[in-house]
């Protein structure tokens, strides 16, 4: 069976790649496009390490077939920092030491960005539920939640300023 030719937009750039039959978006990002920031923790939608934003929606890239993104817009962790400036969630993860091994971090950052895009002022409970699909074996989550809420506050300030 031949590979499928896919044309899509990743982090604002037009990208073409060939997908193996049955390959997921995560496989294609990592193996064909060379974007290895999205991680595979489980391959079954449980851990969120592969989280990307597809046409504005947070999804697990391990549960998307690569050819499904034909003509769509994909945002990955590689596009989160802009012009050498970290996104507020990235900066706050560093400041709050919200990571240890870092394997969950790309997924958590994309999920946090999607949260703050949808809800600029989440409560702690809202943030915890939104991030329930992102597993972290190291941090115990508290620092992550603090970082996300702090990033939200900073982004609100920037909007006012």
């Amino acid at each position: 069976m031949s590979k499928t030719h896919v044309t899509t937009t990743i982090n604002g750039d037009a990208v073409e790649f060939l997908a193996e039959p049955g390959a997921t978006l995560l496989d294609a990002l990592r193996d064909e496009v060379g974007l290895t920031g999205s991680k595979e923790g489980c391959g079954s939608g449980d851990c969120g390490a592969c989280s990307v934003i597809l046409d504005g929606r947070l999804v697990c890239s391990c549960l998307v077939l690569a050819p499904e993104v034909e003509g769509r817009r994909v945002e990955t962790i590689e596009g989160l920092a802009k012009d050498g400036h970290l996104h507020a969630v990235q900066q706050k993860f560093l400041e709050h030491a919200a990571l240890q091994c870092g394997f969950c971090t790309p997924g958590l950052l994309m999920a946090s960005k999607a949260l703050l895009d949808a809800n600029p002022d989440p409560t702690e409970t809202e943030a915890r539920y939104w991030l329930a699909g992102n597993l972290c074996r190291c941090t115990g989550y508290d620092k992550i939640i603090k970082a996300v809420l702090d990033a939200a506050a900073e982004l609100r300030q920037e909007r006012v300023a």
Binding site: M1, T4, P21, G22, T24, G43, S44, G45, D46, G48, S51, L54, R57, L58, V59, C60, C62, L63, V64, L65, P67, E68, E70, A111, A114, L115, Y129, W130, L131, A132, G133, N134
Partner: protein, 287 residues
């Protein structure tokens, strides 16, 4: 997975043609199908993605009710204010499925056609008396939601058929619904038992119509007619709730597994039905 074709038709007719091939499978959100592919439990030859078919997308009002395209995600349901207002129980069932990421993809039609007895959106749809519009090689037919699953992982859909849309009936004044499930955790788990209740009240607060459906306590989700009948003509007094509870327990045919014994599941289904009835009643009083 070396023999796997992917196609994304843009019309229902093209999808029906593609699904006629041996080993063809529809794809909606993929949150069950991709997991099964990876585990080797599904080995389709062709995957027919329904998400580019216009008629399978989005939510529209029609004839006083709602038509929900089969490829509409849980996140889209929760963002539709009019749907949430009319059918809070249907939407809360769908929104209990998985994480934010899963909600961005998972559909009620996929939840139904996957055939899990514990599928969270199914009891709410059954209690709502929702109807599936099924298309296939022999044209178009309608089937009540409860007639689609026939057992764990099994449906009544013939080869080449798929659900194009789901229809929710018009909503009279003072009507509402609710769905509750029990899981051992607060998020991301499979229901031990679930119950949905859909009520219509008159101006005095008396129940004039009631539908009750239960999940995870039999090989498929069940409509329990006796449980609905127990509520009609009442204001949900203790006697009516006790009759509801008893009717639900009598309908349960659960398995015992690590999530709960058959006796526990049966008891819980009755409790959930009582509580869901109370929530639906309170909501209907305000609707």
């Amino acid at each position: 997975m070396s023999q796997l074709n992917y196609i994304a038709p843009t019309t229902a007719d093209e999808a029906v043609k593609a699904l006629a091939a041996a080993g063809a499978r529809p794809l909606a959100g993929g949150t069950d199908l991709l997991v099964q592919l990876r585990a080797g439990r599904a080995k389709p030859s062709v995957i027919v993605d329904l998400k580019r078919i216009d008629a399978a997308r989005g939510i529209r009002s029609e004839g006083g009710g709602f038509v929900i395209g089969a490829a509409t995600s849980g996140a889209e349901l929760s963002e539709h204010a009019a749907l949430v207002k009319a059918w809070p129980g249907v939407v809360e069932g769908a929104n209990l499925i998985g994480s934010t990421q899963v909600q961005g993809r998972a559909t009620m039609a996929g939840n139904l056609c996957n055939g899990s007895p514990a599928a969270d959106s199914v009891p709410g749809l059954i209690a709502a008396r929702a109807v599936c519009v099924v298309v296939g090689p022999n044209g178009r037919r309608e089937a009540p939601v409860e007639q689609i699953p026939t057992g764990p992982g099994q449906t009544s859909l013939a080869q080449g058929e798929f659900v194009l849309e789901m229809r929710l009936p018009p909503r009279p004044a003072r009507s509402s619904d609710a769905y509750l499930r029990l899981i051992p955790r607060t998020e991301m788990d499979i229901a031990v038992a679930g119950a949905a209740v859909n009520l219509v009240l008159d101006a005095a607060g008396v129940v004039t119509e009631a539908h009750v459906a239960i999940g995870a306590v039999a090989p498929t989700a069940l409509l329990v007619a006796e449980a609905g009948a127990a509520l009609v003509g009442t204001k949900l007094d203790d006697a009516a709730l006790a009759k509801l509870d008893a009717a639900v327990r009598a309908a349960c045919r659960p398995i015992s597994d690590k999530r709960g014994t058959a006796a526990y599941r049966t008891k819980i289904a009755g409790v959930l039905a009582r509580r869901a009835a109370q929530i639906a009643y309170d909501r209907a009083g305000k609707a």
